[in-house]
């Protein structure tokens, strides 16, 4: 028996959110007395995959078939279900993302497994198996008993704190894994992929600097970009900004955009409509800079500065450069 954890790769390395999932899965395996086994799909060097051992995995199954190089949730879910069968896994862990949810869903239907997405804590296991999850876009939580034989958990970012520089050094054994691929999973063809390779991913970023209509137009974005660069941060924006095409749609953070959970979220000239708050309420620390002292965002913030963003941002950038 084993707890199976799927890890997402980014340029041949395991994503940080997936390392958190490995650490989460290892803690679950400790509770159940099982091994923690990782599944990685795509191109990666064994040395990059062995790092999963530092977070508690004893083995990494690596599916490196060329047909699986491009993200394909249908085929990946098939591989996940087959790996679960091979490893007799009754508990499967993925990290919360578009791919994680898609794979979890299809694998759940294949394995007749209960699936809970948005898990925010380790499970309670004592006769029953209960997980906590975020609901109402972060406005509440639910504890849910999972009754199915096979259980799939999709875990939110930052549930388990990991320090990539301070881990045990126990490399996992990497084994090739060759799932049976079905033609039906490859009926869709990829016409084009547009990816801003230089940009930090909003879902992975530890720091996000985000702008709203208070930035007064796309031509005034440079001070915000300068602060983001000084902090090594990703950049985001509010819905009105993306609707006005001041910034690309994939930067839109909020209830109908991307939901983020960085350590630090700095909102510049964003008033804080409830729909925007729904996308950022997973952040550890929120800083709000706004000239309107009545901006509702201050009620949700940890730190606030009332003033002109164009005067404040350069000061913050200078201070950040000295870190």
């Amino acid at each position: 028996m084993s707890v199976l954890i799927y890890v997402e790769l980014d340029n041949g390395s395991i994503k940080k959110t997936s390392l958190e999932a490995v650490a989460y899965g290892a803690k679950v395996a400790e509770k159940t007395g099982d091994k923690a086994v990782v599944l990685a799909i795509g191109q990666a060097a064994s040395s990059a995959l062995e790092l999963a051992g530092n977070y508690g995995a004893s083995k990494v199954l690596h599916a490196s078939d060329e047909k699986l190089t491009h993200e394909n949730s249908l085929a990946y879910a098939d591989a996940l279900a087959q790996a679960a069968g091979q490893e007799s896994s009754k508990i499967i862990i993925l990290s919360k993302s578009g791919l994680g949810d898609a794979m979890a869903a299809r694998a759940a239907a294949k394995l007749k497994a209960g699936v809970v997405s948005g898990v925010t804590a380790l499970p309670e296991i004592n006769g029953s198996f209960t997980v906590t999850r975020g609901i109402f876009t972060g406005k509440a939580f639910a504890t849910t008993e999972m009754k199915s034989d096979v259980k799939i958990l999709v875990v939110k970012k930052n549930v388990i704190e990991i320090d990539e520089n301070d881990v045990a050094s126990a490399n996992a054994v990497v084994e090739p894994f060759t799932p049976q691929l079905r033609d039906a999973d490859f009926q869709a063809s990829v016409v084009n992929v547009e990816k801003a390779s230089s940009e930090l991913s909003l879902t992975e970023a530890q720091v996000i600097v985000s702008g709203g209509r208070g930035m007064k137009g796309p031509e005034h974005w440079q001070p915000l970009l300068d602060l983001a660069k000084a902090l090594g941060a990703a950049t985001g924006c509010s819905k009105p900004v993306s609707d006005l095409d001041w910034r690309p749609h994939h930067e839109h953070i909020g209830q109908t955009g991307i939901k983020v959970a960085p350590n630090l979220y700095i909102a510049c000239g964003i008033s804080g409509a409830i729909q925007h708050l729904a996308g950022v309420n997973g952040s550890k620390c929120i800083v709000v800079i706004n000239k309107d002292p009545e901006a509702p965002f201050f009620k949700a913030a940890d730190y606030g500065i009332i003033g002109d963003v164009f005067e404040i941002l350069p000061k913050l950038t200078e201070a950040a450069k000295k870190l």
């Binding site: 759940a108 547009e194 530890q206 994939h250 109908t256 003033g307 000061k315």
Partner: protein, 245 residues
């Protein structure tokens, strides 16, 4: 082309969330319900595609009778008929089984829904339904065109977008800017009253997950205000006090 659009019935985005019955049920008192915002995008694109192709559009909801006003609104926006599976669903798996059951009986070419509901936020129903029907499922779809039995899909991926071409039938989870939300006009509201809304009983499903209790997050502490004249001190506080830098 036969299109199915699945809609959720959820508290308005600005609703204050509280619980009742010893925190085992959502307190619905005074809560305004709406079609899930993402489902509204799916519905809007479904109506556009129906108008382009001259096909039919059925709207489906898994829930109780209190959702009928939202279903009627979907009919007013442009759906031809509606099905409500009469149940109080406990989890995504249950909902997906009901949708798949209805879909198997009707051979839809395209099944659209929102990328997720805004109450349970799971984002897994489209994938479950796709697998249960043995067809492709993709999400979140931001642009969708149908031509000659195949769909061109633009979907959001981490830090960018991907354009796919996939054969129908498909299940798609939608989000903006796939279409502009549609507001029903008076004629639509009047005709919606006479459009068929069938109520069917659910098929049985093994209990997979059961919500036990709900709770609210711990209240947020007060916001620490920093004078604009001392803005640079914020960086030090973030490093030494909040420990997030």
């Amino acid at each position: 082309m036969k299109i199915l659009v699945c809609i959720s019935n959820v508290p308005d985005t600005t609703a204050k969330i509280t619980f009742t019955d010893n925190d085992t049920r959502l307190n619905k008192n005074g809560v305004q319900y709406i079609i899930g915002p993402y489902d509204d995008y799916a519905l809007a694109r479904g109506v556009e595609l129906k108008e382009q192709s001259g096909g039919t559009l059925t709207v489906l909801h898994v829930g109780e009778a209190d959702a009928d006003p939202q279903i009627r609104k979907a009919l007013a926006i442009g759906a031809d008929d509606a099905i409500r599976v009469n149940a109080d669903p406990l989890d995504s798996y249950f909902v997906a089984v009901q949708i798949a059951h209805v879909a198997k009986q009707n051979n839809f070419d395209l099944i659209l829904m929102g990328r997720e509901s805004i109450d349970y936020n799971s984002g897994v129903v489209h994938g479950l339904v796709g697998e249960m029907l043995g067809i492709g499922s993709y999400s979140p779809v931001m642009k969708l065109d149908i031509e000659g039995g195949s769909a061109t899909i633009s979907r959001e991926i981490d830090g960018g977008k991907e354009i796919l071409k996939a054969p129908l039938p498909l299940v798609l989870g939608c989000q903006e800017p796939i279409a502009e939300w549609k507001i029903p006009n008076m004629r639509g509201i009047m005709t919606a009253r006479t459009k068929p809304l069938s109520v069917v009983e659910p098929v049985s499903v093994d209990e997979m997950t059961v919500p036990e209790k709900y709770f609210l997050p711990a209240p947020k502490g007060a916001c620490k205000m920093i004078p604009a004249s001392e803005a640079e001190t914020l960086i030090r506080l973030l490093q030494t006090e909040a420990k997030v830098l």
